[in-house]
Amino acid sequence: MLTDQTTLNWFAACNVADVPANGGVCVKYQETQIALFHFARRDEWYATQNECPHRKQMALSRGMIGTQNDEPKVACPFHKKTFSLTTGECLTGDECSIKTYPVKVDNGQVWIGVED
C-alpha cells in the first residue's frame, strides 16, 4: 500500500470510454505495463501490474474480473490464478502477489498514480 509520505506522480492513462465495462486494458507508462480495470458493476477502478507473476506473462489486463467473498479480483487468462485487485495478494494460494496502483477518474479522464 502506498502511504502519504511517498510522492505520487499521476499520469493520464486514457479516457473512461476506452476501457470496456467490467473488463481491462493495458496501459503503457514509460517501460512499464499496467493493467487497468473498470469494475463497472461496483463503479470502481483498479490498476495492477500487467505481468502475471506465475509464468511472467503480460496478460492480466486480458483477464476476467469478478469477486470472491466481495473481494474484487482478476483471473489470469493463462492458468486462472486469481489476484486481489485491492491488495494484489494471490487468492489461489500461491506465494506470488502483484503490485497495485491507485486510480482516479476526473472529467472522463482516467489517471494512474505511480511512484517515481
Partner: protein, 830 residues
C-alpha cells in the same frame, strides 16, 4: 484433576481438544517452547506458497482463554520433580500436576558434519526456520537439501517455491524415499523430479561443509564438491526426550520416551504422546497416530478404557506435484505372496500391489506418479475386502469387457476408517448426512472433522456424501459458484424462461454479488446457445472466457493462434496459397492440426484483425478453435475416390460442419464421417460419428479422445441423411440443455441415469416429447449463424479492443521468438 501438558505442538493441542470434549472437570496448563500457539506443521510448506502463520494456526489464543486453559508460550519446561509432582519452567514458573503429558515432539536430526553451524545451513521444522530460510533465500542462487525422504523432498519443493531453480537433493541411501517406495518406484520418482529441474544424488555422503562464516559449498566422501549458497538438512527426526531423560524416565537407546499401550511412561502419572513417544520400539512420525495417542490418554483419564496398539503408516503425498503413496506392507515379498507391477517410464507412473497367494487379499502397495486409486486401495487393504477376479483392474482400471469398476464406496463396511487423521469412519460420515443433515463438504468437515487433517480423504468423503444423498433419494445440487445457487441446467431453463439477454441481467435476476471467472463463461455460453447473438456484443464481451473474448487461443508468451475453418478437411489450392501468403506476411508458424486443418501460431493481438480481414476476403471463416463450440467434422475421402467407399463422406462432413459451425455448447464438439467401416475418419472417437453402411449411415455418439478415450456408442443404424441430421439436432440440443459446464458428451452420458438406452429413447423415440421443439430451436441457430470474425473486423468498437496497449500503437515488447527448423517458436517461459 489438574493436567499439565508440556509441548504445544499438533498433538499437545489435540490432547487439550480431546479431553475437553469428554469432561469439563479438568484444569489444564500448557507450556510451549515456541512463541506461537500450536499450528499445522503438516502443511508448513504452504507458508511459502502464500499461507500466513495465522492461516496455519490450529486455534487462536482466544480458544485457550475461552476454555480456561492456562497457556505459557515461549517458556519451555526445564525440569520435572516427580516426587513433588511439580514442573519448573525457564521463566521461573512452577506448576503442580496430578497427571503430566509430555508432547515435546521431535527435532530435526542433524548429522555431525563439520561446518553445520555455518550461516546458510537450516533445518525445516518450525515457522521460525522458514522465516530464516526466506530471508537467506533472497541472496541465494543455488540450494541443496540433505535427505531424500518425505521431509527432504518437501524441503526441496520449498526451495523451488523460494525461487531457487538450481536445487539439488543429496540422499545417503541408494534411492529416494527408502521407507516408502521400492527401487523401481524410486527410479521413476527420480526421473520425474529430474525432469522438473531438481538434481538428485543418491549414495552420497557429505563429509564437510565449506565456507568461511557462510556456506559456499559441500565436500563429499568421494571427494567431489558441490557449490551452494544454502543448505537445508532434512535427514530424519530425533525425538525430544531430554526432559524425560533428566527426570530419569525410561527412554530408548536411539531416543524416544518408552510408553505402554496406555501411553504411560515408566512413571504412571506421566504420559508421552506424539513424536516423542516410543511405542513397541517405534517412533510414529506422522500426525494421525499422534492424534490417536492423544485420544487414548484423554479417554483413559476421563474414565474410559482405550489402548494404542500401533498404527497403519500408509501415506499419500503430493511431492512437487507428483503423487507418491504407499500403504499396508509396501515391500512384502514371500513365497506366499505375489506382486503385480505396472510401469510407464514415459509418463513416469509406477504402481505395485502385493496380494496374498490365493489372490483374495490386498496386502500393500506403492503408487508413484498417479495415486487416484489410493483411498480405495487403502480401504480394500485395511478392511480385507475380497479382491475382484482380475486384481490388476485395481491399478489399471477395467479395460473393456464387463464393468469391473472394483468396489466403490458402497462396498465398504460401516467401520471402514475414511479419515485417519481424525478417525472418522464411513458410518460417521453417512450418519452426518442422514441424521445430522450435512449436505455439503464443509458441513461434513464441521460436523465430523473428516478431511480437516491432511485432506487426503476429501475425494472419498465427497463420494460418500453424494452416494448417501442419492440413496436417500435426494437431489445432489451442483451449483456454479458463490454467485449462482443453480446448476448449469437450472440456469439454462431460468435464463430462457426469463428471456435474459446479457450477463448482468442474468446476475441481477438470478444471482448475487459481482460474478467471477467460474460463472461468467458458462452463462455467456448459455446466452449464445439460446439466442445465437454475436458473442462480443457489448456487455457480454467481458463475460467471455479470454479465448472467446479475442476470438483466438492465447499461447505461451501472449500471442494467439489463427485457425480458419476448413470444413471436412477439404481445401482448394488457391486457399492453401492464401494461407501461405498470410503466414509469410505476419511471420506465423504453420502446422497441420490433428483436426484436419491448418493452425497459424504466434500472431500478435494487434495483427489479428488484419490477418482475418485477408483470410475472410479469400473466403475463409472463423474455425472457432477458441470456443466451446463445434471444432471440426473430420472426413475420410469416401466414395468419390476410395475403392471401398460406400457414400460420399466428404460432402456429408462438409454439410454437417457447416450446419453446426458457431454453435455454443457446454464443451467443445467434434464430429467425423467415414465412408465405410474401415473408419479412416476415426468417427468413433468423436462426439458424433457417422459411418457409411450399405443402406445409409450409422450414427454413433458420445465418443471422446483426450486423456480418457472412450468409444462412441451406436445411437441408430442405417439412417438416411435427413434423419441422421434430425437425430444429431435433437442429440445436441438435449446435451446443450442438460450437461454441466465443461462436460464433454462422453462424460455427460456416463453420468446419465439409464445410459445409452435412455438417450436413445429421448432422441429416437422422442420419449420427452421435445423433438420438434429442439429441431426448431436448432434450425433457428443454424439460420442466425454469422462468422463472428467477419462481424468483429467490421465493427470499429470491437476492432479497437485488439490492441495490446490502450494508449500506444506498438505491440507487446516482451514477446520473444526463437528460430526453429526454418520457422519460429515462442521463447520458453520462466
Amino acid at each position: 484433576m489438574k493436567v499439565v501438558i508440556i509441548g504445544n505442538g499438533m498433538v499437545g493441542y489435540k490432547f487439550c481438544e480431546k479431553i475437553l470434549s469428554k469432561t469439563t472437570n479438568v484444569e489444564l496448563v500448557v507450556f510451549g517452547e515456541e512463541t506461537r500457539p500450536a499450528y499445522d506443521r503438516v502443511h508448513l510448506s504452504e507458508y511459502f506458497s502464500g499461507k500466513s502463520a495465522d492461516d496455519l494456526t490450529l486455534a487462536g489464543i482466544e480458544w485457550y482463554e475461552l476454555n480456561d486453559i492456562k497457556l505459557h508460550l515461549g517458556d519451555p519446561v526445564q525440569s520435572i520433580d516427580r516426587v513433588k509432582k511439580v514442573v519448573h519452567s525457564h521463566l521461573g514458573i512452577s506448576e503442580s500436576y496430578d497427571y503430566l503429558v509430555l508432547a515435546t515432539g521431535s527435532a530435526a536430526f542433524v548429522p555431525p558434519i563439520p561446518g553445520v553451524d555455518k550461516q546458510g545451513v537450516f533445518i525445516y521444522r518450525t515457522i521460525e526456520d522458514l522465516e530464516m530460510m526466506q530471508q537467506h533465500a533472497r541472496k541465494a542462487k543455488r540450494g541443496v537439501v540433505i535427505g531424500g525422504g518425505l521431509l527432504g523432498l518437501e524441503a526441496a519443493k520449498a526451495m523451488l517455491d523460494l525461487g531457487i531453480a538450481d536445487t539439488s537433493v543429496i540422499e545417503f541411501a541408494p534411492r529416494l524415499m527408502p521407507r516408502q517406495v521400492d527401487d523401481a518406484g524410486a527410479s521413476v520418482l527420480q526421473n520425474k523430479l529430474s525432469a522438473l529441474g531438481l538434481t538428485i544424488y543418491t549414495s552420497k555422503n557429505t563429509s564437510e561443509i565449506l565456507g568461511e562464516e557462510t556456506i559456499t559449498g559441500m565436500r563429499f566422501s568421494d571427494d567431489t564438491i558441490l557449490h551452494t549458497d544454502m543448505l537445508v538438512i532434512s535427514a530424519g527426526i530425533k525425538p525430544r526426550d531430554e526432559l524425560a531423560k533428566a527426570a530419569e524416565l525410561a527412554t530408548g537407546a536411539r531416543g524416544g520416551i518408552i510408553v505402554n499401550e496406555k501411553l504411560e511412561t515408566s512413571d504412571p502419572f506421566i504420559f508421552a504422546v506424539g513424536e516423542c513417544a516410543l511405542y513397541n520400539g517405534m517412533i510414529y512420525g506422522l500426525v494421525a497416530p499422534g492424534y490417536e495417542m492423544a485420544d487414548t490418554v484423554a479417554t483413559n483419564l476421563t474414565g474410559g478404557d482405550k489402548r494404542f496398539t500401533g498404527y497403519d503408516m500408509s501415506t499419500k503425498l503430493k511431492l512437487i506435484g507428483i503423487d507418491v503413496a504407499s500403504f499396508g506392507d509396501p515391500f512384502i515379498e514371500t513365497d506366499q505372496t505375489r506382486s503385480l507391477v505396472f510401469e510407464d517410464t514415459l509418463k513416469g507412473i509406477y504402481k505395485r500391489i502385493n496380494i496374498s497367494g490365493d489372490g483374495k487379499e490386498l496386502l500393500g502397495g506403492i503408487l508413484v506418479g498417479e495415486a487416484a486409486q489410493y483411498n480405495m486401495l487403502l480401504q480394500t487393504c485395511k478392511n480385507k475386502i475380497v479382491l475382484p477376479p482380475n486384481p490388476e483392474d485395481l491399478i489399471l482400471g477395467s479395460r473393456g469387457g464387463s464393468e469391473a469398476e472394483g468396489a466403490g464406496v458402497q462396498g465398504l463396511p460401516g467401520d471402514a476408517l475414511i479419515c485417519s487423521c481424525e478417525s472418522v469412519t464411513k458410518a460417521d460420515i453417512c450418519n452426518a448426512v442422514t441424521a445430522g443433515g450435512c449436505e455439503t463438504l464443509d458441513g461434513i468437515k464441521k460436523c465430523t472433522k473428516a478431511g480437516t487433517g491432511c485432506g487426503g480423504c476429501v475425494p472419498m468423503v465427497k463420494d460418500l456424501l453424494v452416494y448417501t444423498m442419492k440413496s436417500q433419494g435426494k437431489y445432489v445440487r451442483n451449483v456454479l459458484c458463490e454467485h449462482f445457487n443453480y446448476s448449469r441446467q437450472e440456469l439454462f431453463d431460468l435464463i430462457k424462461i426469463n428471456d435474459l439477454r446479457s450477463y448482468d441481467e442474468v446476475l441481477n435476476k438470478l444471482g448475487q454479488g459481482d460474478g467471477c471467472e467460474l460463472c461468467k463463461p458458462p452463462v455467456a455460453s448459455i446466452l449464445a446457445s439460446l439466442w445465437g447473438e454475436m458473442i462480443l456484443k457489448k456487455g457480454n464481451d467481458t463475460a467471455q472466457d479470454s479465448n472467446d473474448r479475442f476470438l483466438a487461443n492465447i499461447q505461451k508468451g501472449g500471442t494467439y493462434s489463427v485457425v480458419p475453418r476448413i470444413p471436412g478437411g477439404e481445401i482448394t489450392p488457391d486457399k492453401l496459397i492464401v494461407i501461405g501468403q498470410v503466414a509469410k506476411q505476419y511471420n506465423l508458424y504453420t502446422k497441420i492440426t490433428g483436426g484436419q486443418r491448418i493452425d497459424l501460431f504466434g500472431a500478435h493481438l494487434g495483427d489479428l484483425p488484419d490477418i482475418w480481414q485477408q483470410l475472410i476476403a479469400a473466403g475463409f471463416e472463423s474455425g472457432h478453435a477458441y470456443g466451446k463450440s463445434l471444432r471440426t467434422v473430420k472426413s475420410c475421402v469416401g466414395s468419390t475416390w476410395c475403392r471401398f467407399g460406400l457414400h460420399d463422406s466428404v460432402s456429408f462432413a462438409i454439410r454437417i460442419e457447416e450446419r453446426y459451425r458457431g454453435l455454443r455448447s457446454p464443451h467443445k464438439l467434434k464430429g467425423g464421417v467415414s465412408g465405410c467401416i474401415r473408419e479412416c475418419a476415426e468417427a468413433q472417437s468423436k462426439d458424433f460419428g457417422i459411418i457409411a453402411t450399405e443402406k445409409g449411415w450409422n450414427l454413433m455418439v458420445c465418443g471422446n479422445g483426450g486423456s480418457k478415450p472412450q468409444h462412441a456408442l451406436l445411437l441408430a443404424a442405417d439412417l438416411d441423411s435427413e434423419t441422421c441430421i434430425r437425430y444429431i439436432d435433437r442429440f445436441l440440443m438435449f446435451y446443450i440443455r442438460t450437461a454441466d459446464t465443461l462436460t464433454r458428451t462422453a462424460t455427460w452420458l456416463n453420468k446419465m441415469e439409464g445410459g445409452m438406452d435412455y438417450l436413445r429413447n429421448v432422441v429416437v423415440n422422442d420419449s420427452l416429447g421435445m423433438a420438434a421443439q429442439w429441431e426448431a430451436e436448432m434450425q433457428l441457430l443454424v439460420d442466425s449463424y454469422k462468422c463472428e470474425w467477419k462481424e468483429a473486423i467490421e465493427n470499429v468498437e470491437i476492432r479497437k479492443r485488439f490492441n495490446h496497449f490502450v494508449n500506444a500503437p506498438e505491440k507487446d515488447p516482451s514477446i520473444q521468438f526463437e528460430p526453429m527448423r526454418e520457422q519460429k517458436k515462442v521463447a520458453d517461459w520462466k
